[in-house]
């Protein structure tokens, strides 16, 4: 429990107006995108690194939990204060400190919203590619902590590929600088990539050196309809191996198509089993050349129809299909289990076939869609939790899905992280010794287990 003495000390660190213990405020910081809720005891809004460091020192002294939080859009419970304590909200650490155009680097505080950074760098002809669907509200700090990805990962990579260096406050309060401002650095262990994706369990990120790229000047968008899912995923490989590098290569299966059908100006025929949304970007000559090649790949194939957007309206219409999936799912059933397993690309049909089998066996509605280009598949299981049978079936199906994904040489999570939702399944993929090493790192960084406790590792084994 945090008594008034601790609260007073916290006030001295961050200032009275940057701290709250009001119940209604605490509720706002009790949950994330998973909907799981645990109430913190206090929320603090530090304004600089030194304050973050002082909070950590205090937390060690009085042994309370600290949970860093960006926008709380996480899908695995990472920012949920499982053990109460303090939520450290990053909303006042939200400045873009520098945009170094010559070296294509941005230096930002963790609370900067991803979309805001993208807008700012665009003004100087640069881009920050990682584009999680939540970019309008999620933060760069949260992206770094989860190693977020997005549709553009197939061409550009994920968050880790765009972070050159970090300033991190360790659980002890010590301030660490990792990485460098250079593209290449092998000076010492690569701690940058270790902190990226560590879900706020190893240190608090207080500054980010982000790598930027020149803004692509030209774009072409395509929607492909296919009467065979297998043919569609095989086509993905063909496209990528034909020296075509799309920035988006999303697919949706027939269940996903069926729920967005009424949102489309030109809904696909009933025979369509899969759709691909493809976007090319870059320098104009290169994009046009790739466009020709792609059309050639599809020429004369009966299983496919390819539509090439000619106006901005048509582009939006094509995206509408992909973007409407998530919100439309709730028309099917009130609750959703959303997973983001990844499998090697050639195994996508096997995974989808398996989800169809699960749906049949367990009476669930399952749709799959997502990043076909990199094998990162969003599996949505729709159910009604008030029906105890469905709730149980859902749990069982998730269990089987993870087992099967690992069997297909896949992984539990391609971008959302482990958090609390997937912690019980970690042993499906990693053996005990490996988990032990990861836990010993956690122990090493955070001997008192005060930083975001209860995440990533299965609770029973602790």
């Amino acid at each position: 429990m945090m008594d008034s003495n601790i609260i007073k000390k916290l006030e001295e660190i961050v200032g009275k107006d940057s701290l709250t213990t009001r119940e209604e405020d605490l509720h706002c910081y009790s949950f994330d995108g998973t909907g799981k809720a645990y109430l913190p005891e206090v929320v603090a809004y530090p304004q600089n690194t030194e304050q973050v460091s002082n909070i950590m020192k205090l937390a060690n002294e009085y042994n309370f939990a600290v949970v860093p939080r960006g926008a709380g859009s996480g899908m695995t419970g990472g920012a949920v204060p499982l053990k109460g304590g303090l939520v450290m909200a990053m909303s006042k650490l939200n400045r873009i400190l520098e945009i170094d155009v010559d070296n294509q680097i941005a230096v930002v505080e963790p609370g900067v919203v991803t979309g805001d950074l993208q807008k700012e760098v665009k003004k100087v002809g640069l881009s920050y590619p990682p584009d999680p669907a939540s970019l309008k509200y999620c933060t760069i700090g949260g992206n770094a902590a989860e190693c977020a990805g997005g549709p553009s990962a197939v061409k550009y990579g994920v968050t880790k590929d765009f972070i050159l260096g970090l300033e991190v406050v360790l659980p002890s309060g010590e301030i660490l600088h990792t990485g460098a401002r250079t593209e290449k650095s092998v000076t010492g262990y690569d701690l940058t990539r270790l902190f990226v994706g560590s879900e706020g369990t190893l240190g608090i990120i207080t500054k980010i050196f982000a790598r930027l790229l020149p803004l692509p000047v030209h774009k072409e968008t395509f929607l492909v309809e296919s009467t065979s899912l297998k043919a569609a995923t095989e086509m993905v490989a063909k496209i990528l191996n034909a020296n075509i590098t799309p920035r988006t290569l999303e697919y949706m299966d027939k269940t996903a198509i069926s729920i967005v059908r009424d949102k489309l100006t030109n809904p696909p025929p009933e025979t369509v089993e899969a759709m691909l949304l493809i976007e090319l970007d870059g320098e104009e000559t290169a994009v046009l050349a790739q466009t020709e090649r792609m059309k050639a790949l599809f020429a004369g194939l009966e299983d496919f129809t390819i539509k090439h957007a000619q106006t901005e309206e048509e582009v939006n219409d094509m995206w509408q299909a992909r973007r409407s999936i998530s919100p439309s799912t709730f028309n099917l059933r009130p609750n959703k289990i959303s997973e983001d397993v990844a499998v090697p690309r050639s195994r996508i049909p096997e995974l989808v076939e398996y989800t169809e089998k699960l749906a049949k066996e367990y009476g669930l509605i399952i749709l799959t869609f997502g990043h076909a280009g990199d094998g990162n598949i969003h599996v949505n299981m729709m159910l009604d939790r008030s029906d105890i049978k469905q709730a149980m079936a859902g749990k069982k199906a998730v269990d089987l899905l993870f087992k099967h994904a690992v069997k297909l040489q896949g992984t539990l999570s391609g971008e959302h992280g482990i958090g609390i939702s997937k912690a019980p399944y970690l042993t499906f993929e990693l053996d005990e010794t490996t988990i032990k090493v990861m836990k010993s790192l956690k122990q090493l960084f955070d001997p008192n287990n005060i930083l975001n406790p209860g995440k990533i590792f299965p609770q029973t084994a602790e």
């Binding site: 250079t182 092998v186 010492g188 701690l191």
Partner: protein
């Protein structure tokens, strides 16, 4: 000395023919491409993860230092057994286990030579992007342990960007596996980041799953000369600043070019103050467009001559000269010391100037090569180590170069690693808390400090 028991236990694992403590054999494993030498007490050639694990269990029990070794081409002393003990040489774990082009990965043992992997991938139309100058003899294990780079890293990134999954034997002999065959994988901590580049100080790599990519359909190379080194360097930052991302931009100065020509006799541009080798790749139409844009930038920076090579044979000839550089320079003087400080690309002109003025100030023989596009400079100085006075100057000059790079927000090493060579300079670019932290990690994973002691931390 290895105790009799330890020796017997080790031989019981590998058999007599894959264990040696004969002086003439040990000598072969006492050096790398850096300057120091140290004799190990034994060298072992494991053939399986199981053997490596058993060897480490013995080493742990007797607290015997273990230094992994690939081809020994490191230029920072990383594989030298400075605390003696045993060298684990991976030349017999050299199998390519699987190549899967539809899913774009290759599974290899650590002793596979980088070039062998390239040759196995080529018929499938694929390649493994990391291309250190030593690619025809260095091992993938060594590349990963040092996070090696090479010319085309400018566009494609360094080794760590291509490691999907690893199997590692810890000091205790325990075997861990992490990562998967998936490009996207956020399950648990990214341990591959930690082990990649750890110079054999945290664990022994026994298997790697690597990302491989399709070969570009075309590539074009330009060789460009300048009569001022400043313009040469300025062109580099201008090209990168324009938004074009070539595969490689290599810079060679006059001293370097003359040394190359003396050795290779290829009609190289010995008069030029600076020469750039620029390669672009991708689809044909965009290569041509990029070459046009680059040519404009080069002309604005007063390039003297621009030679274009489209044919594979011509391109290979240009690149052969660049790849030969290190070996050639070694012949200029008894010893060559080459470093690989790295600076943000806009600072390339300043760094080139500063390297030259430092070498001039100490009246030494040397110059600069660079993977210039990513700011990775290779200043080199040729001298005689036995000439104490001259050598003191060499060391002073490099210290100055490191300090200058750090002041420009640079770093000590872009690709060669810290090893023995640069440990003392770490404070220039890393604060105390961060250095202490590296040691803490090392201790946690290797409490008895048996893995490659004396390196990096």
């Amino acid at each position: 000395m290895l105790s009799k028991t330890a020796k017997e236990q080790l031989i019981a694992i590998t058999g007599k023919d894959r264990f040696s403590d004969a002086v003439e054999i040990l000598t072969c494993y006492s050096y790398d491409s850096f300057l120091e030498e140290a004799m190990p007490e034994a060298v072992l050639f494991p053939v399986s993860t199981k053997e490596v694990s058993e060897i480490l269990q013995v080493a742990s029990a007797h607290k015997i230092p273990v230094t992994a070794r690939g081809a020994g081409t490191s230029v920072c002393g990383a594989p030298i057994a400075v605390n003696q003990g045993i060298v684990l040489c991976f030349t017999k774990m050299d199998k390519i286990i699987e190549i899967n082009t539809p899913d774009r990965y290759a599974i290899v043992q650590p002793g596979v030579i980088n070039g062998e992997l390239q040759r196995a991938l080529a018929p499938e139309g694929f390649f493994f992007p990391p291309d250190p100058g030593s690619m025809n003899f260095s091992t993938i294990g060594g590349n990963v342990a040092l996070n090696a780079g090479g010319p085309r890293c400018l566009k494609y990134g360094v080794t760590v960007d291509y490691v999907l999954s690893m199997e590692v034997v810890l000091a205790s002999g325990e075997v861990i596996r992490f990562g998967s065959r998936n490009i996207k994988d956020v399950t648990g901590y990214k341990l591959s980041a930690l082990f990649c580049g750890s110079e054999g100080t945290l664990g022994i790599i026994t298997e790697l799953t690597l990302r491989v990519v399709p070969c570009p359909e075309t590539a074009q190379t330009l060789m460009v000369t300048f009569d001022e080194l400043d313009n040469t360097a300025k062109s580099v930052s201008d090209i990168i600043g324009s938004g074009i991302l070539p595969v490689a931009i290599e810079l060679v100065d006059k001293v370097g070019m003359n040394a190359l020509e003396n050795a290779l006799h290829q009609d190289l541009p010995t008069e030029a103050a600076g020469t750039l080798l620029i390669e672009v790749d991708g689809i044909k139409e965009s290569c041509e467009r990029e070459i046009e844009k680059i040519t404009d930038i080069l002309k604005k920076n007063h390039a003297v001559s621009i030679i274009k090579a489209t044919e594979e044979a011509d391109r290979n000839r240009l690149w052969a000269a660049r790849r030969a550089a290190y070996g050639v320079f070694a012949k200029i003087a008894p010893d060559i010391l080459s470093e690989d400080v790295t600076v943000p690309v806009s600072k390339v002109p300043e760094m080139v100037r500063s390297i030259n003025s430092t070498i001039g100030k100490y009246k030494l023989k040397g110059g600069v090569l660079a993977h210039a596009g990513d700011g990775n400079m290779h200043p080199f100085i040729c001298a005689d180590r036995n000439d104490k006075e001259e050598w003191a100057k060499v060391e002073a000059a490099f210290k100055e170069i490191f300090t200058d790079a750090a002041a420009l927000h640079g770093t000590l090493s872009g690709e060669h690693g810290i090893g023995l060579a640069k440990t003392q300079f770490l404070p220039l670019v890393m604060d105390e808390a961060s250095r202490k932290f590296l040691t803490t990690i090392k201790r946690a994973v290797d409490p008895d400090n048996i893995l490659n002691p004396g390196k990096l931390v």
